[in-house]
């Protein structure tokens, strides 16, 4: 058992208002901030959602992995997806940038709105979706190339035309890795420690200047100190990016996230969204009995 006041860093405001200006990008294809996406049903001061799932269902073959998900993600905030194993957290996360499509039998119904555009519409190219909605995976998976190449590659294939050295340095600095690797940029990325590899993967993801970064249990393969570094980094990144994180670790969700969504399986083993709200509220005054049972460790 733990109390929420121990978990959340003192002095950190849970909610920030307004969008900080994002770093200037040199990409030709991206020039605009997200268009204002007015949503009549939401009263939250006319702010637009970073990304929004509407009646989203994801199937693997005949099996429905997530069911009727409606979720609005706040821009420049960290949203945590929590829930017991197999409840479809990762599936939902991957549905946000069409990564599920790499699994041949997967398909989705409903819609995911990004800047007012359904990313599952027939004329949307998943390649462009994934450029704008990046991903960091559970196990650090740097390319078997040099540290420099790991960061530069994504930018290069996406048509980056600026100064590559500066871009690599900026991305590595943003990922809090620069000081550790600046003298060995051209050595293999596989020689780094697990925590450094994961931060390199984050640097690689932000090098293509996405709007949203999806993180699938980014610290579950790391030791506590490396985990802490990743969490600090996520707080810093939230200044400029919208982050959605899947985590098994409830302390982590409580420490790091601004909003929390709790998912659970129904009788058909399909994942459902049970409760979604500000993290403090979910962890202190959950509205649903099942959420309370889960976060107090009574099941799951």
């Amino acid at each position: 058992m733990f109390t929420i006041s121990q978990l959340i860093k003192p002095g950190r405001p849970l909610l920030k208002n307004g969008d900080e200006p994002r770093p200037v990008t040199v990409y030709e294809s991206v020039s605009k901030r997200p268009e204002a996406l007015t949503n009549g049903s939401q009263a939250s001061a006319g702010s637009s959602w970073a990304i929004e799932a509407r009646n989203l269902n994801v199937y693997y073959g005949d099996f429905r992995a997530v069911k009727d998900i409606n979720l609005q993600v706040h821009p420049h905030k960290i949203t945590a997806l929590i829930g017991p194993s197999g409840c479809g957290k990762s599936t939902l996360l991957r549905a946000f940038n069409r990564m599920n499509e790499l699994i041949p039998t997967a398909r989705a119904t409903g819609s995911v709105l990004y800047r007012g555009q359904d990313i599952y519409a027939a004329d949307v190219d998943p390649v462009e979706v994934r450029r704008r909605i990046g991903m960091v995976f559970q196990k650090p998976n740097p390319f078997p190339k040099s540290i420099y190449e790991n960061v530069a590659w994504g930018a290069r294939i996406n048509g980056y035309r600026g100064n590559m050295d500066e871009m690599v340095e900026l991305s590595l600095r943003q990922a809090a890795l620069w000081d550790e690797v600046k003298d060995k940029l051209h050595q293999s990325a596989l020689a780094l420690s697990g925590g450094q590899q994961q931060r390199l993967c984050i640097a690689r993801a932000i090098a293509v200047r996405p709007d949203i970064i999806l993180m699938d249990e980014p610290a579950s393969a790391l030791d506590p100190i490396a985990t802490l570094k990743i969490e600090e980094l996520m707080r810093e990144l939230a200044e400029n990016y919208t982050i959605i994180i899947v985590t098994h670790n409830m302390q982590q969700a409580a420490r790091v996230s601004d909003y929390t969504a709790f998912l659970m399986m129904d009788a058909d083993r399909a994942g459902m969204l049970i409760e979604y709200g500000p993290t403090r509220q979910i962890f202190t005054r959950p509205a649903d009995r099942r959420t309370e049972d889960y976060i107090t460790g009574r099941f799951g």
Partner: protein, 413 residues
């Protein structure tokens, strides 16, 4: 008391299990020993035939060619030319003179000619290495009795001359140059055709093709094709490349050969046939290598907004390259040792002219070996053994090159 005796001797059940384990252990050991014996025998046979004693008998003894007491090897160029002229027919002399005028030939050249055409050493009998080592006395007695004029010489059948000389009907002069060149040309064409097609097909089947009945049928059939006997591929090559595409494979279509005499039994036909033969092997191996590339690598690439082609070109293929190269080594080793399909496609059994391009007639090392073993004269068995040594060395060199290449690529990652 109970516990201590059980711990020492084990229960009856444990004793039984250990006995079963021992039996299997011995069976595996025996299998290994059989394999080692078979390999050793093979190597022994080849080495045994590649070295040994020969009884050399000269047509004309060099001593009898001495002029005024000066031995043959110390004679001047002019004296050697004179000896050559008196001992060969006028026609032969004119032919050599036309090849290169005697006035321009060096002393060593003329000396070699005199040895070859005048002294004419012939191997009247050969003994393999094992007998040469252990039965030397009996061999000397036999040679003195049966071939009083002959000298006993210990020689290796694999020599620089053996590699340099073209084929010859005389065992003393025969070499494998044409066969080596034929093999290299054929393999070159085989690799150039099979490798790109094989890798491309594997990439398509693994990365692009959707999983449905047609692709499953294709995959199954590629696996089956890898097991088809090579002579069938020979028939296919004969029908398609030698006959149907004769204008193309003979070079006549490109104006490189005389259409009236040209035929399709060329290096090109052989290379294409072998390419067909190893294509299934290459595809299967490349598929395995591509499948072994971790999924996380592809996900990382797609997650950055890479297209499928960028993912394949920058990540999948480089990671799969060592595996693809290993498969290629195996496939080429198979192709270089193939005999049956080339016999069907029409390798020449006797050829003294070097192949000079894809449209020449050809022979290869395995064909040469096969043909020499079929000869009645025992000397050709030694030549066949020596050619096997050359073939094995060629294979080793090619494999070593491929392994070095592969290691270089693996290290770079």
């Amino acid at each position: 008391m109970e516990t201590s005796s059980v711990l020492k001797e084990g229960t009856a059940y444990l004793v039984r299990r250990k006995r079963v384990a021992l039996i299997w252990h011995l069976i595996f050991l025996a299998a290994t020993i059989v394999g080692v014996i078979a390999l050793t025998t093979l190597l022994y046979t080849i080495i045994n035939q590649s070295f040994g004693l020969v009884a050399v008998q000269n047509q004309i003894e060099p001593e009898s060619l001495a002029v005024d007491g000066v031995p043959l090897e110390q004679l001047s160029r002019e004296q050697l030319v004179e000896i050559f002229k008196t001992h060969v027919s006028a026609g032969v002399f004119r032919r050599y003179d036309a090849e290169q005028p005697f006035a321009e030939r060096s002393r060593e050249n003329v000396y070699a000619l005199v040895l070859e055409r005048v002294v004419q050493p012939r191997y009247v009998k050969t003994w393999p290495l094992s007998q040469a080592l252990f039965n030397r006395r009996e061999i000397e007695a036999e040679a003195a009795r049966d071939f009083p004029q002959a000298r006993l010489v210990f020689r290796s059948w694999v020599t620089a001359d053996f590699l340099r000389n073209p084929q010859s009907s005389a065992a003393e002069l025969a070499g494998v140059r044409t066969a080596i060149l034929g093999s290299l040309w054929t393999i070159l064409i085989t690799i150039a055709v099979a490798l790109p097609i094989g890798v491309a097909a594997a990439v398509y089947l693994e990365e692009y093709a959707r999983d449905h009945w047609l692709t499953r049928l294709i995959r199954t059939n590629i696996n089956n094709l890898a097991g088809v006997p090579s002579i069938i591929y020979g028939m296919l090559g004969l029908a398609i490349f030698v006959r149907a595409a004769e204008a193309f494979t003979s070079g006549a279509a490109f104006g490189l050969a005389d259409p009236t005499t040209a035929n399709g039994r060329t290096i090109l036909s052989a290379g294409l046939t072998l390419a067909l033969l190893i294509l299934p092997l290459l595809i299967i191996n490349a598929q395995e290598a591509i499948r072994a590339v971790p999924r996380s690598l592809r996900q990382a690439s797609y997650g950055l907004g890479a297209t499928q082609w960028q993912t394949i070109w920058h990540h999948v293929l480089p990671s799969a390259l060592p595996g693809i190269l290993t498969g290629t080594i195996l496939a080429i080793s198979r192709a270089i040792g193939e005999t049956a399909p080339l016999v069907v496609v029409g390798a020449s059994t006797f050829i003294v002219v070097d192949p000079n391009g894809p449209f020449s007639r050809f022979t290869t090392l395995p064909i040469q070996i096969y043909q020499w073993t079929a000869r009645p004269q025992p000397q050709f068995r030694n030549l066949a053994a020596a050619a096997i040594v050359v073939l094995l060395a060629l294979l080793l060199i090619m494999n070593a090159t491929a392994i070095l290449l592969r290691n270089r690529y693996s290290r770079r990652i």
